[in-house]
């Protein structure tokens, strides 16, 4: 934990004499082929519900409160699986492109590896992230439990448009049905315009091959679109005139509004931000300086501004944005704050370069109510009490 765990080092008196520790005198451990975090960081893990759920159904969440910067280490990138993580033999894996194409084609991974590649740093956020904030009462949850279905990697792969051009698109084609090689055969319909715009067939995540929990050996990246559409373990792309109306674009990932109607095909993750530090579990120790740090992102473009409030939204000040500021990538924001020791409510409000401003909870509710489950992106609030404890509140 970063803040608040022990009393060491923040008292006022003079320091202890410096101790020559054993590791300063005897050689350390040898090299490893593949390195791991320090054993002292063993609490920095993804969180997921215990059984009795079938293993690997549901999600594991990124511990955002323990992380910094923009990149999510691949070992801590959230996962959402519908039938566990398949152990795919890459030599047996195939990608087929068919349907409304002139030439149905199948690709091995080796063939895909021969294509021109592109890299981009992009977030992936589950459409169900932050859904806990739809509850009528604020739950005693931390930032991982509420907002932890968010990750960011440098993704590298082949542009989908390249392969669609090779297959030859029939004029009636408007959609691409993407399907995974997992047992659930996750399937989503994607507008052909997106497929031809910036969709990437990813072979690499943060430099190395995509992790199994994130789609090894091939993941579809649709920058800025809801996580579920970024189909993992991609095996098939079928071009069609209309959407397939799969379970995950009808039963799930649709947003029931205040009347009986539901929004369907809600593609972009709209502008959003969350303060990761301070946050629940990271209590403030003493009045004084704190850096308020968090992430802001938009599936519609780049973050232009993040404002931070320490008084529940009565007053706002712009935070510093950590470059590089990239489209459809999270931006780390930071702002200096003096805690006077009294109660406070921290909020962040992001604006993207389309001019869209993150809504207040009231604005969010006025548009769609709280029955929508997905794509919750209203301003979130952390309350700080006089003891420095931080909790999730509605404010």
């Amino acid at each position: 934990l970063v803040v608040g765990a022990t009393a060491a080092g923040l008292s006022c008196g003079s320091a202890e004499p410096l101790a020559v520790q054993p590791w300063m005198k005897v050689p350390g451990t040898g090299f490893a082929g593949y390195g791991q975090p320090s054993p002292f960081e063993s609490k920095v893990v993804k969180v997921f519900p215990p059984p009795p759920n079938p293993p690997g159904v549901g999600s594991s969440r990124t511990p955002l409160h323990m992380l910094e910067g923009m990149i999510t280490p691949s070992g801590l990138h959230f996962e959402r699986s519908h039938s566990g993580v398949p152990e795919i033999d890459p030599d047996q894996h195939r990608l087929v492109i068919h349907g409304l194409v002139k030439r149905p084609l199948v690709f091995t991974l080796e063939a895909l590896s021969r294509y021109p590649m592109q890299s981009r740093i992009a977030f992936i956020e589950c459409g169900g992230n932050s859904l806990a904030l739809n509850a009528p009462q604020a739950q005693p949850l931390n930032v991982a439990a509420i907002h932890g279905l968010l990750g960011c990697s440098e993704w590298t792969g082949v542009r989908l448009s390249t392969l669609l051009d090779e297959a030859g698109i029939e004029p009636e084609a408007r959609w691409v049905i993407a399907e995974g090689a997992d047992a659930a055969a996750m399937s989503r319909s994607i507008p052909l315009t997106k497929a031809m715009d910036d969709a990437l067939l990813c072979l690499y995540q943060n430099g190395e091959r995509v992790r199994p929990s994130n789609g090894y050996p091939l993941r579809l990246l649709l920058p800025g679109f809801e996580g579920n559409m970024n189909v993992k373990w991609l095996r098939r792309l079928k071009l069609t005139a209309g959407p397939a109306m799969t379970k995950d674009e009808t039963s799930k990932y649709t947003i029931l509004l205040k009347d009986e109607k539901a929004w369907q095909f809600v593609f972009p993750i709209e502008v959003k931000s969350v303060i990761t530090r301070p946050s629940p579990g990271l209590a403030l120790r003493d009045p004084g300086f704190y850096e308020i740090s968090g992430l802001a992102w938009s599936g519609n473009g780049s973050i232009r501004q993040v404002d931070v409030s320490a008084d529940g939204g009565r007053s706002w000040a712009p935070a510093a944005l950590q470059g590089p500021i990239l489209p459809k990538a999270p931006v780390r924001f930071r702002t200096a704050w003096q805690w006077n020791g009294g109660p406070a409510v921290l909020q962040s409000r992001a604006t993207d370069d389309t001019g869209m401003v993150q809504p207040t909870r009231a604005q969010f509710a006025a548009e769609r109510g709280f029955r929508g489950v997905y794509h919750y992106n209203a301003i979130a609030s952390w309350r700080i009490d006089e003891m420095g404890e931080v909790s999730n509140v509605y404010a």
Partner: protein, 157 residues
């Protein structure tokens, strides 16, 4: 500039993977089933997780398959099931065939998928117990919430 490394593949060789069903029924295989026939399959292969008559799932994430009609109304707490929420019956065939039963997906015959789909539709009061469900009739089933969806107004152009 790019290589052309895709291998041509014959449509018949794609068939083992092409499990997509369109809302118009495109892709539905030959076969048939009724709710009466589907009940036994459901009891044997689905009920352990989804509960008796699909009403109270025994596995949290499995969700109710039956009931909830009328709960989408304003201010109600929605219970979204196949019956109350799903706009197309074809989705049921598509999803059950690809993803159920959970431990052994893609194991049901086309007849079995038609039959168990018919059973779930019947439990929801949408079709009768002896209505034959097949490639012709499934897309014609009128789901209660067929008109419940509107496009999201802020998608990129």
């Amino acid at each position: 500039q790019a290589p052309q490394l895709g291998q041509p593949i014959a449509p018949a060789d794609i068939t083992p993977w092409d499990i997509s069903i369109g809302p118009d029924g495109a892709g539905l295989p030959p076969g048939r089933g009724t709710a009466i026939e589907g009940e036994a399959i459901y009891v044997a292969k689905c009920q352990a997780c989804h509960g008796e008559k699909g009403e109270r799932p025994k596995v949290a994430l499995a969700g109710a398959l039956v009931g909830g009609i009328g709960t989408l109304a304003p201010d109600k707490t929605p219970i979204k099931t196949v019956g109350s929420f799903w706009p197309y019956a074809t989705t049921l065939f598509d999803y059950v065939r690809r993803a159920m039963p959970f431990q052994d997906t893609k194991s049901l015959t086309a007849d079995e998928v038609y039959a168990v789909s018919a059973y779930i539709l019947h439990l929801n009061g949408i079709i009768g117990p002896n209505d034959v469900i097949d490639a012709h009739s499934l897309p014609e089933v009128r789901m209660p919430n067929r008109d419940g969806f509107i496009p999201f107004p802020r998608n990129p152009k």
